[in-house]
């Protein structure tokens, strides 16, 4: 009895680790493939799949050199910079506005005259904006942006991404603020602090994890977006996903080695962020989905 128990437990653990390792390989293989393709010469790509540098093929940094110093390098660097500016700018704005709204929704009572809405209705109205398929609002956006002269501008794109991210930011931060103990704020208010002072000096410092998680999410959404950039930009403010999609659909066929290096340039920042702050991301995801 005892023996069969340990045996079946051992069998189960072997199976568990096998499956986990298989999934690890599945998760990492595409990234490995990007890395090795970016150091292949064209001939090593066209001869069929080659798996190991120095064994199967001779690695070269040609694609990287071309990417960073070749004739398209200025466009690459500009797209990358645009992506970074738009992602950071819109995430900062979404977190700032989302924190204010999230705080308001957990500390005050609102009523929308006419509709009879209360806090919960307002919060649901805000998050429901995130559920919309973006294609529904993107055409009016494009027309509005043309008339307002915001098309293909960085501030226009920051604004668009802020609106796109705001519902999510409000949703997560509202939940976060609701979980904070309220006594500290109240004693500060009794001691004569204003509401805004209490918010800035007490609530915000206590909420750093929530703010960081929200910021990272908003940054990731903007960095990875393709549809908004495609419709609202064409040259000066276009982003890295635009550049990748444009290069990948060239009529002369994709330059695999070059595109691999380019893709790595696009995915690297977010992977680094994920590795550094996995804890925050997990928490933000879980809060955003379950609550």
């Amino acid at each position: 009895m005892q023996l069969s128990m340990t045996l079946s437990r051992r069998l189960r653990m072997t199976l568990t680790y096998t499956l986990l390792i298989v999934w690890t390989v599945i998760c990492l293989f595409p990234i490995y493939w990007l890395v090795i393709t970016s150091i292949k010469q064209p001939i090593a790509v066209f001869q069929g799949p080659k798996y190991f540098p120095w064994v199967d093929f001779k690695p070269t940094l040609d694609a990287w050199k071309f990417l960073l110093t070749g004739p398209t390098s200025r466009q690459v660097i500009r797209s990358w910079t645009n992506s970074a500016i738009l992602a950071i700018g819109s995430a900062a704005l979404a977190v700032a506005l989302g924190a204010l709204a999230g705080y308001g929704l957990t500390r005050f009572r609102y009523r929308v005259p006419g509709l009879g809405w209360r806090n919960d209705n307002i919060a649901f109205w805000i998050i429901s904006q995130r559920m919309l398929p973006p294609v529904v609002v993107i055409l009016p956006f494009m027309i509005m942006y043309r008339f307002l002269g915001l098309i293909d501008t960085r501030h226009g794109m920051i604004l668009a991404y802020t609106v796109f991210n705001l519902p999510f930011a409000v949703w997560i931060l509202r939940d976060f603020f609701a979980g904070l103990p309220i006594d500290l704020e109240e004693s500060a208010l009794i001691d004569g602090a204003s509401r805004l002072q209490a918010f800035r000096k007490i609530v915000l410092p206590l909420s750093t994890p929530g703010l960081v998680a929200t910021f990272l999410f908003c940054m990731m959404f903007s960095w990875n977006d393709y549809l908004f950039a495609l419709m609202l930009t064409f040259s000066r403010s276009s982003t890295l996903p635009m550049f990748i999609a444009g290069e990948g659909t060239q009529s002369y066929g994709p330059q695999w080695w070059y595109l691999s290096a380019l893709s790595l340039l696009a995915v690297a920042p977010m992977v680094i962020v994920a590795l550094l702050v996995e804890r925050y991301i997990t928490r933000g995801l879980v809060v955003g989905a379950i609550k």
């Binding site: 568990t16 999934w23 599945i26 998760c27 595409p30 990234i31 493939w33 990007l34 790509v45 506005l97 204010l100 500390r107 005050f108 009572r109 609102y110 806090n119 919060a123 904006q129 398929p133 973006p134 294609v135 529904v136 609002v137 055409l139 009016p140 027309i143 043309r146 609106v163 705001l166 939940d175 609701a178 309220i182 509401r195 805004l196 393709y226 549809l227 495609l230 419709m231 890295l240 996903p241 635009m242 990748i244 999609a245 990948g248 659909t249 695999w256 691999s260 893709s263 696009a266 995915v267 977010m270 992977v271 962020v273 994920a274 996995e278 997990t282 879980v286 989905a289 379950i290 609550k291």
Partner: protein
């Protein structure tokens, strides 16, 4: 479901907190939504931004109802959503249950499993195109080494959509996994212990305890992923370009083509609204069943 403040007070400064967000969403989200509805009732040729606009009544929607290409894209989108979400849920739940045991390197596995969902979809679509390539890609090469016949992935009509589903599953299973893992960890351990003492098998525990108790979380993640999957656009553009032919063309992509290639803003808006209606019906259905479950639980 909704956090309530311990002491919600009425103060004059309260408007300072909520107004900026409310105004921004009204102006840049609700207004475009209405604008788009108006657009779906007009005929507007993009090549003539001024003066090209005239009232068109229900004609856009009548055209839509007869447009076989639209119904084709709707079917593609729906097939994609159902296939991708089902696959992601099954794999995500499986991995979450593997990780919900006493295992070594749990943190390592969790971090690695998170990576795919952080990646730019445009780049992911491109990776998919490379991996599924029939002559240069490693997937067919591995299949051949296993002694199986090569598969024509993105270049054949029956396999192009499944290829997209596989790539999307690679990218988004992490989301399911993380939320379901948190859901599993929040279940009370006593229930499982007493079931085990009563001699229930692992399969029985899963069927009669784990799965039913996890159902609210399951429905939520399926809804969230489903809503996201309906927006499918970037991976398709890069991986198949909607092809071969229109085999993988999604509704969003069709609306984009009608707006930008044909310059027909009115009809494109009607297509977009049809998608919105589809998504809304499914969402309401889901929220309803969530609410009924919640009520039944109480």
């Amino acid at each position: 479901m909704s956090p309530q403040a311990a002491h919600p007070v009425t103060e004059r400064s309260k408007h300072f907190f909520l107004t900026p967000t409310a105004v921004l969403i009204l102006v840049l989200s609700i207004f475009p939504l209405l604008f788009s509805l108006v657009l779906s009732f007009v005929s507007w040729d993009l090549s003539r931004l001024e003066g090209g606009i005239r009232f068109y009544g229900l004609n856009n929607f009548i055209t839509l109802a007869k447009d076989t290409r639209f119904w084709h894209t709707a079917r593609v989108t729906l097939t994609f959503v159902i296939g991708a979400v089902a696959l992601q849920y099954c794999i995500g739940l499986g991995i979450a249950m593997l990780l919900n045991q006493e295992i070594r390197l749990r943190r390592f596995f969790r971090v690695v499993f998170l990576i795919p969902m952080m990646l730019t979809p445009a780049a992911v679509g491109y990776v998919g195109r490379m991996l599924f390539n029939e002559s240069m890609g490693p997937i067919n090469d591995i299949i051949k080494h296993l002694g199986l016949p090569a598969v024509r992935w993105v270049s054949s009509i029956p396999m192009a959509l499944p290829s997209l589903i596989l790539v999307d599953t690679w990218e988004w299973t992490p989301f399911m996994m993380i939320v379901l893992l948190a859901g599993l960890q929040s279940l009370p351990p006593e229930v499982f212990e007493s079931a085990r003492v009563d001699g229930a098998s692992s399969l029985q525990i899963f069927r009669h305890i784990t799965f039913p108790m996890l159902l609210p979380v399951s429905l939520t993640v399926v809804l969230i992923r489903g809503l996201e999957a309906f927006k499918l656009f970037d991976i398709v553009v890069v991986m198949t370009g909607g092809g071969p032919g229109t085999a993988t063309e999604t509704v969003t992509m069709y609306a984009y083509l009608v707006a930008m290639k044909n310059g027909n803003l009115g009809y494109a808006s009607a297509i977009a609204y049809a998608l919105l209606i589809m998504v809304t019906i499914i969402t309401l259905f889901f929220l309803n069943s969530l609410r009924r479950r919640a009520a039944a639980a109480e």
